[in-house]
């Protein structure tokens, strides 16, 4: 394993030190429990917005803390969900009296830890609404499984809910909007290479020199199937087809198209993928009204990408376009 780190056990803390050193004007970082909070939190009267999850997905979530997006983020160990004390601390720090929304990716660990945190916060008189994201169509959903994983839609929900919260929406309204975003978004990812977790030092799975893994998760979970690598146009079909069929998206839909890099893939390849995504979307009669291209929800050094399509409505567009000023996503501010 070769990484720019000091020691496997210090990865998360050292990266937080970097965040603190880089953004003292925007972020407050506490270490025990580990929480990244926007400098001016709590914003009185505004619904507080927090998220969190295992580290290794940067810029998510800490990089999305700031005006227009998250009020705080709880970083867990690499690929391990954070703990309830972090989430309770964050909820207290951002509660401006209007309640707090927890945006939670649907993983057993994240869900159970956020559940405990919500119970504790309730005990301290903080009103909490939870928005669960589960947009990964690579996973079959059923009552008898852990259900679908939360992936790309999480980034979009954090931005759109952030815009709504800034806009003075109520706790219920912000949570409802977040759930609508999740309900209208679908994602699927693929990998050219596994990722190497600094703690284990080992590749998350084995892949042949000419193979790709389709349907991977963001923690190095292997996917639905593997195949010989084809051209970008074929990879895009592999991801777009299940996404389009699942919602389903239909001709005339307005969408946001999000091509996300897994951390080790150069931007030039993401733009090549975007060209294919745009072509396929057009063939299906979709209008791409907004797009996002780059590394936003990553899996350490994994090479690969994920595609997320979100069916838009006017309210989503308005809050997507609203000013945002975070280390990881910034415009109009």
């Amino acid at each position: 394993m070769k990484k720019l780190i000091n020691a496997p056990d210090d990865v998360v803390v050292d990266a937080l030190r970097g965040m603190e050193a880089a953004h003292p004007d925007r972020l407050r970082v506490s270490y025990d429990p580990a929480v990244v909070v926007r400098i001016d939190a709590p914003v009185q009267g505004k619904v507080g917005l927090i998220s969190g999850g295992g580290s290794g997905h940067e810029p998510m979530h800490g990089g999305f803390v700031g005006p227009g997006m998250l009020d705080a983020a709880c970083p867990g160990q690499v690929f391990t969900s954070p703990t309830p004390d972090q989430m309770l601390e964050a909820s207290k720090a951002v509660n401006g009296g209007a309640g707090v929304v927890h945006i939670v990716k649907n993983y057993t660990g994240d869900v159970m830890n956020f559940d405990m945190a919500a119970e504790m916060a309730g005990g301290e008189g903080i009103e909490v609404e939870t928005v669960l994201t589960n947009d990964d169509v690579a996973v079959e959903d059923s009552l008898y499984t852990a259900g679908r994983r939360g992936v790309g839609v999480t980034v979009l929900a954090e931005k759109i809910c952030g815009g709504a919260a800034d806009d003075g929406r109520s706790l219920q309204e912000v949570a409802e909007l977040g759930r609508r975003v999740n309900a209208n978004g679908r994602s699927m990812g693929m990998a050219l290479t596994p990722c190497v977790n600094p703690t284990s030092g080992k590749p998350s799975f084995q892949l042949g020199e000419d193979e790709v893994e389709i349907g991977i998760g963001i923690h190095g979970e292997p996917g639905r199937f593997r195949e010989k690598i084809g051209p970008a146009s074929q990879v895009a079909e592999r991801l777009m087809t299940p996404i389009l069929e699942d919602l389903p998206f239909s001709s005339g839909d307005r969408v946001l198209a999000f091509v996300n890099g897994m951390g080790g893939t150069p931007l030039i390849e993401l733009y090549i993928m975007y060209a294919e995504v745009a072509r396929i979307a057009q063939d299906h009669g979709l209008t791409i009204e907004r797009n996002l291209i780059g590394d936003f929800i990553t899996s350490l050094d994994m090479q690969g990408c994920s595609i997320t399509l979100l069916k838009l409505d006017d309210e989503m567009v308005r809050h997507w376009d609203a000013p945002v000023n975070t280390p990881g996503l910034r415009w109009k501010a």
């Binding site: 429990p33 295992g54 867990g76 160990q77 690499v78 690929f79 391990t80 969900s81 954070p82 703990t83 309830p84 004390d85 993983y107 057993t108 660990g109 159970m112 830890n113 559940d115 405990m116 996973v139 079959e140 008898y144 499984t145 852990a146 994983r149 977790n197 703690t199 284990s200 080992k202 998350s204 998760g217 923690h219 190095g220 979970e221 292997p222």
Partner: protein, 206 residues
Amino acid sequence: MAITRDTTVDWMERFAVAMTEHRQELVALDTAIGDGDHGTNMDRGMGRALEKLRAGSPDDPGAVLKTVAMALVSSVGGAAGPLYGTLLLQMGTALAGRPEVDREAFAAAWRKGLEGVQARGKAQPGDKTMVDALIPAVEALEASADLDEGLRAAVKGAEQGMHATIPLLARKGRASYLGERSQDHQDPGATSTYYLFKAAGEALAG
């Protein structure tokens, strides 16, 4: 012989040692059907728990388990943190205030802990989780006449439950993402649960 504060602390220390010794084994099991962190998480958590025990010096078995539970909840993360936290918190609450704990009370506490785990995680028997190691162990403890026999039976039950997870198809937790690919692998959480009972057998038997 009954369970005391000191034997409970000894139990937790032995469990901590087991989590360090078997860290790699649990990581390997979790890498096969999960994300490879179970051993690291449990080892980190029990390390933190021992610190808290030394700092706090709780004065009865229930208080010891509560202290460990809180340490796990706030340091393990993942699925195992809330699950082991809930398990031991429920047990500690059930044993609150008793300086000495006999088989019957101990078995009842395990039952409460098991219920807590199932309430938290919604796992059914056969879902390929730690629940599959817990159930046979708790039932064995409930069914036996005295503590020593009960502990021996519980350890055996946990071990069998752990092995029984191998052919199962995972229906909860990360492993469930693999569908059929989750079969023919032993569940990491059931394995750490077996070590919890094994440590109990070593520390609590007269």
